[in-house]
Symmetry: C2
Subunit: 330 residues, 2 copies
DNA sequence: TTGTATGCGTTATCAG
DNA sequence: CTGATAACGCATACAA
């Protein structure tokens, strides 16, 4: 384990002071073109890489943005990937703060803060709003994917309500009248999506039928079982794609054909939606759009001097695939 | 944005020196029980959190382990989650270094090193062996999931070859004789799995039939298309679950029944395998086992003074599910 | 058991 | 345009 190359080593190599080399390394104005070239060459030759800890300490800036996510979620992962590139473009680095069943959101946030992140992106946060507002006083916070009722926070999200409404209208357009909704348990998102369902059903003059569910494939399986035990509607909307996939697989096992007998739709347009034997009709999450707006908000707060909070709402699109069809026997 | 609480603030609060507070904070022996209590109370009251950058700089230790992974992969994500907990137990923190199509492995490694990671875990690395050996001279490296032919490196992996052999034997036991293998394009893993296939086929006195494929669902779809255009074997093994899922979904679209007409198997036992309408027979990746061994190796290198390199090979188990059945019409 | 002094690798201010 | 030099927040050997 050889010692790390320091600024001083590079300075010695080119016969300059550490200060000059430092300026060159971070592209500060000052050094002559000739100096820049020599320093860069020497740094490259020696394999010098600036020490982030030292740099952060001295500059009081880490140039890092913390992202709290659920690594398990492919949707979160997609967002993180996209944000990685976007952050790079505005000269920041991303620090991932994974949230798991054994490591709650608060812990992830603490860890990110310990690492001196200058701003925080919370994907699909489940923390109470007051806590987030408090956090936002320490460091700029942007929440992604969830409405923040009555809070002054930066938010980037899909219009969940209109997404599900669109799904209902799609079903109605196919002639369905018995359309059920299997809700998630999340406080806000689930409520919004359910509201979209209820609104669209009422607009179509139909009776809503909401049942409890969840966000995982297993939840979808369970929902299917209980629905099979009772009467099956002609169309079922589920909280998200995961649940919808589980739901469909259980129907398949029971010999119920999708979409011939039952039309099914999810939400998220996760990679899973395209994958199965029956491609899922769903609501598209605009990952590049969410990402772009998120990093714009952060850029404005960090480098643009904005202080007022903003909310960006993206109107989502329904993606029609093979899991929905005209209602049978009408 | 209020100023951060420093060690000094806590020291002032309790009327002690920074040194004493520092000892208390990191649980160093020395301070009296009474002092510890007072300091901890004050730190808590003020909301003090040690600054990692400063701490790393001063102690020349970051207590961080870098993990290079593909965030998109649910298997990698599962490993990362598990490692997070395991690292915590031995007093380390994990730093995730995502590898994406726009951010190659070398870049992820550099970033992790810039953050002073003391050891690196490379999940499913695709880097050339020589590069890894060179890297291992800078910092302890453990590669997960891939054999490192002829290299002195710490490796934790499944016995891919025997995994696929087991799958073949399972198929043979079900009466299959025309068993095809759709390989991946990875240099080492794909070769190992293919070797396992060839060995088991030869042991069963069967003629091997290997076709090109890939690791994504789309690759599986493509494989299915080309196989449907030609003659379909009675059993098909695919490089991994993703490919197998894509393969099965394309078969379903073409009206081919799995497992009645064709038996299909994957590799990885990813969450996907259990999900679809037809649960996939596959080879189980022992995530807790891989994790435990990985962190053991790291602990030994970092705190145990081990210098010789070790390889840990886990014998994987075949998980039989619904996608394989006795060969039809025999 | 507690305090003092020094250093960690950078950045940034201010002379030259 | 370049070079000293003082922070940055904390850890640690050593002294008290």
């Amino acid at each position: 384990m050889s010692r790390r190359i320091r600024l001083e080593d590079v300075a010695a190599e080119v016969g300059l002071s550490r200060a000059s080399v430092s300026m060159v390394m971070r592209g500060a104005p000052g050094p002559s073109a000739d100096t820049v070239e020599r320093v860069l060459a020497a740094a490259d030759r020696l394999g010098y890489r600036p020490d982030r800890a030292a740099s952060a300490l001295a500059s009081r800036r880490s140039r890092m943005i913390g992202v709290v996510l659920e690594v398990r979620s492919t949707f979160h992962a997609e967002l993180a990937e996209e944000m990685l590139a976007a952050a790079d473009r505005i000269g920041y680095d991303l620090l991932l703060g994974p949230r798991t069943p054994h490591r709650d959101e608060a812990r992830a946030v603490e860890s990110l803060l310990d690492s001196r992140c200058e701003a925080l992106v919370l994907i699909g946060t489940e923390a109470p709003v007051e806590r987030l507002v408090a956090l936002d006083r320490q460091v700029p916070v942007v929440t992604v994917g969830r409405r923040m009722p009555g809070a002054t926070l930066d938010v980037v999200r899909l219009d969940d309500e209109s997404g599900v409404s669109g799904l209902v209208r799609h079903m109605v357009g196919l002639g369905h009248r018995r359309i059920a909704y299997v809700r998630g348990h999340d406080a806000v998102i689930a409520a919004d999506r359910e509201a979209g369902y209820r609104r669209a059903m009422s607009e179509a003059g139909l009776e809503p039928h909401v049942v409890a569910g969840g966000k995982d494939a297993e939840d979808g399986v369970a929902s299917a079982r209980s629905m099979l035990a009772e009467a099956l509607p002609t169309a079922v909307l589920l909280f998200n794609d995961q649940a919808a996939i589980g739901f469909m697989s259980e129907l398949a096992r029971a010999g119920v054909d999708v979409p011939a007998q039952v039309s099914v739709a999810g939400f998220d347009d996760s990679p899973l939606a395209r994958l199965g034997p029956v491609a899922l009709t769903t609501v598209h999450q605009d990952v590049p759009g969410l990402t772009r707006h998120t990093l714009e908000l952060i850029g404005e707060r960090l480098d643009g001097g904005r202080s007022a909070r903003r909310e960006v709402v993206i109107t989502p699109e329904v993606v029609v695939r093979a899991s929905t069809a005209e209602v049978a026997g009408i």
